[in-house]
Subunit: 476 residues, 2 copies
Amino acid sequence: MDADALISCGAMTLQFVAEYWRSIGKRPVVANIQPGYLRQLLPLEAPEQAESFTSIIKDLESTIMPGVTHWHSPNFYAYFPTANSYPAICADILSGGIACIGFSWIASPACTELEAIVMDWLAKAMGLPEFFLSSGNGGGIIQGTASEATLVALLAARSRIFKERKVEDPTLTLGRLLDQLVVYCSDQAHSSVDKAALIVGCRLRKIASDADCIMRGEQVQAAIAEDRAEGLIPFFIIATLGTTPTCAFDDLVSVGRVCEKEHLWMHIDAAYAGNAFICPEYRHLLNGIEYAESFDFNPHKWMLVNFDCSAMYLKDRTHFVDAFNVDPLYLKHAFQSSAPDYRHWQIPLGRRFRSLKLWFVFRAMGLDGLRAYIRKHIELAKYFISLIKPDDRFEIVFPAAEQLGLVCFRLKDSPNELNERLLKALNEDKRIYLVPSMVKQKYILRLAICSWLTEEKHVRFAWDIISEVTAKLLSK
Amino acid sequence: MDADALISCGAMTLQFVAEYWRSIGKRPVVANIQPGYLRQLLPLEAPEQAESFTSIIKDLESTIMPGVTHWHSPNFYAYFPTANSYPAICADILSGGIACIGFSWIASPACTELEAIVMDWLAKAMGLPEFFLSSGNGGGIIQGTASEATLVALLAARSRIFKERKVEDPTLTLGRLLDQLVVYCSDQAHSSVDKAALIVGCRLRKIASDADCIMRGEQVQAAIAEDRAEGLIPFFIIATLGTTPTCAFDDLVSVGRVCEKEHLWMHIDAAYAGNAFICPEYRHLLNGIEYAESFDFNPHKWMLVNFDCSAMYLKDRTHFVDAFNVDPLYLKHAFQSSAPDYRHWQIPLGRRFRSLKLWFVFRAMGLDGLRAYIRKHIELAKYFISLIKPDDRFEIVFPAAEQLGLVCFRLKDSPNELNERLLKALNEDKRIYLVPSMVKQKYILRLAICSWLTEEKHVRFAWDIISEVTAKLLSK
């Protein structure tokens, strides 16, 4: 275990990944195996003696690769993208090589400081409000996932309302309060909101979105009024920018105004779409963010930064520190008042040096390069629209003002069951991979541009397959 | 952004890390900078244009390195170790290169399957009870941190008790139940237990440990009786194997028997010490684990696997799935009944291909190699004891039966204030790095063997410094 082995074995691994990238377009995008396949191929117990690194690398192709779903295949159009790039991988090598645990400033100052700096860079590149910069009472932090960001925001909001209500009623218990608390989100919000509400244990009310899948202030206001009339305590809302089913954008301005009036904490989940805000032409979709207490999106989805890297911004960090602060002596240090200790802003204690990934990607790509990358994906989605639109068998559904890199479609005037059979036939064909969604009682197909290898020819290929599989299905 | 750049830039990064490892012993172990140092060195905004990779790597030494606390320096004795090794870094390159998100089996089957297999390997290597193997109702999962494992276990236990109590009283609300629930842990347990209780919102009662810092069943039984008499509902206990302050081991057998009788969920947090259980001579410290519902330790602490990799085992996964299951259409797939979907066992949705790290380390080191590594650290701690023990100025405190790689000491018959001054003088000297702890009103110094580079000569060096700084302090 030494420096020489790192160089030689690392080079072998890089070579393997490079070959993988070069061949990825030729691999079947979805694994063609049955559950339990790997257990047949591997020993039942860990080896007693060390094996050669060559033999480990050799086994990758025969055991692991057959079971991989290739998220970076140019034929992968499922879910939303997950990012990847050589500078982010290099930054991860460095993070692994330094292997410090930056839970407090003193535990490795560069870890905390670089995070604050690159999160400021990112905030400025997107034109976020000043109160999200680290120079004020707020700041940015890298969370693992948008799910964790939602949960953390919800916990901070719970801490705030509990503190406020305790002033009015010192006998109030958290349990009694919890039974009255209401969280709101659109009926289009991500399942991680359900999960966060389940974890915190408060009720979640889903607001009916409009015909374009947009949550609007008027409906939020009505729900709050109803709930207050029943003695409940509305306190938190998640607004989504770029919903998972159709990439719809909640109306931040009208929702935000209601939040201000009704003293609700607004958290914005822009997991996928947030990345586009580095392009000035999409910045207007952020109008209304000035009403938010917290904001999160995933550079690990669409900004060339490998998972995990979820960029969360807080307006007032004291609510977070209040919610999470537990400080034993072995974690205390002399600089606690002059530098942020990110452990108080998150659920885990330990943290990797993840800011290196953002730093490397910003520098190796430049903001210009990142914008070009985002725009290319959006262009490819438009290209797909140009192919499917003239075809009378299909309809494009929920064409929000900005669908970004996602296109939702279905067989025109057809029952859900037929669309479900189409999706099934496409995925059994295995040349491309899509996932469906159910929106407003409609079963829809989602085509999301995901890979950095996707070009027009791949989108054309996807369209040809969709057209061909549809013809076969409809002829039955 | 292509395969060629990955190979060339990756090689540059590996070279940087290799040089770092070669020079780490000569670097000051703790960063010698003031808060805000990095902001003076970096631009205020992200670059518009791409920069060369060479310039990025060049900046590492001048900007980042001065602010790094070197956790792998042979002079680092603070906290507990965090692991590192070349095979784990190579596995991370691979995880980054493949960059699949394994939240469900179908999303990348190899990701789920390899995790189940290597977690079984690990369970067998430690002699864990059969019910923790994936072949039964339980199984292993890689969590990010022990903090998350504690929280996840607590949430599953809350879900179980709520379901049970609802049967007796269908009008029961979660809030009403929460106000009655009690979590127990030793007064020596890690701060992450406080944090988990804070997040879930239930009261935490700390059980007084005995003179050796061990929590015993008798005290737990008494606390439960008191709380039941007050109408509270005891439901969950964290037993710690290898506490952070002194590496004490709670008495699992007596605590476990109480849990069985009183229907409490016992979660075991063995974050650091758990790694030693792959050595048969320490396996007896696990006696009583048969009473546990869940168990967690961190291979990322002491088993050469880079952070993050926390190995959690569940006896019955249905409690977890009950607590976390939210299943929108875009995440459903045809194999849900035949393969585990780890997203229901954890807080985040997304997950990296972390099992590769365990697989690579097991194979590149062999169980024999891992055992040798653990034993070497324990020998080094014993060597430090052999140096300090004959010195009348010091006393070794809380010498539990097995202190593993940690030694706790203080100035004999001295006030806390003097020990605090000693710790401060040592850390201002900056040649070695320790953190203190406060145990039973005693301020103590902790010396934890942390780095894979630490040899007898380094321990000797540490002792010489401690001796020298003490002499200077006492002569004042």
